[in-house]
């Protein structure tokens, strides 16, 4: 299953769309040590941006104080059942990807 790391539940509710996103990610802070006492290097999602119809509806900058499997919920005006959301994440390592989700 070539699914990305993001899972989204986007629901059209009246004039609004409620978006809930969770990423499968350890959000390593860089402060933890492994069993041999070596620091585990920081590896976390730095930004997660969501757009709808080419318009940005949410931009986030995240730090290491965001929990493992980061969660984000917000609501924007507009959006209709069947439409698509674009979600772009970038890691502090430079890794990045865009994933999509349908509004239900």
């Amino acid at each position: 299953m070539a699914k990305g790391i993001l899972r989204a539940k986007a629901k059209a509710k009246g004039d609004n769309t409620v978006v809930k996103i969770m990423a499968k990610h350890a959000m390593e802070t860089g402060n933890r040590k492994d069993k041999s006492g070596q620091k585990i290097p920081a590896k976390f999602i730095q930004t997660l941006n969501v757009s709808y119809n080419g318009k940005t509806v949410m931009e986030t900058n995240l730090g290491t104080a965001i929990s493992k499997n980061p969660y984000l919920a917000f609501t924007f005006v507009g959006g209709a059942k069947g439409d698509e959301l674009q979600m772009t994440w970038t890691e502090n390592t430079g890794a990045s990807a865009t994933e999509t989700a349908k509004i239900k």
Partner: protein
């Protein structure tokens, strides 16, 4: 909402990325600010981001538990009834790096976000809401206890 002072400060503290972000035309918020996210005190982080100290406001609502079930996953929500909210930021004062997240709120998106944060120990959690007229905040102490067994 950064002015020249905070730009200078950001650059001065080695926050090259933050500085550049601010110098760019302000498309919503600045890029990920190393200076702010790596600042080791809430004051320093706020200094990078804001020109003045945010003032407490009843129109900012921070929802967080009194006692966190588990400091690793603390559900937090922020909303505001203020007009023209452009961004929301979350700080955990006693974390090694207090700035937890920034959310840019474009027009058409409600000033109401939820996320889950990590807390190393009991701490004040502060939400700062940015509007055209400045920064407003709400704070709440969240207790992090050493668990017993956990249900």
């Amino acid at each position: 909402m950064m002015n020249r002072r905070s730009v200078l400060k950001a650059v001065f503290t080695g926050g090259l990325v933050a500085g550049m972000g601010v110098l760019m035309p302000r498309v919503a918020m600045a890029a990920w600010s190393k200076a702010a996210f790596e600042a080791e005190s809430q004051e320093a982080a706020m200094d990078v981001l804001y020109s003045a100290n945010p003032s407490a406001s009843a129109e900012v609502t921070l929802k967080a538990p009194d006692i966190a079930e588990n400091g690793a996953v603390v559900p937090v929500s922020v909303k505001s009834s203020l007009a023209g909210v452009t961004s929301i930021a979350l700080f955990v004062a006693n974390n090694p790096q207090p700035l937890a997240a920034q959310f840019t709120i474009p027009e058409g998106t409600l000033a109401n976000v939820s996320c889950r944060i990590r807390m190393g120990k009991t701490s004040e959690v502060t939400a700062v809401v940015t509007t055209a007229s400045g920064e407003y905040s709400a704070s709440k102490e969240v207790k992090v206890t050493i668990g017993g067994c956990g249900g």
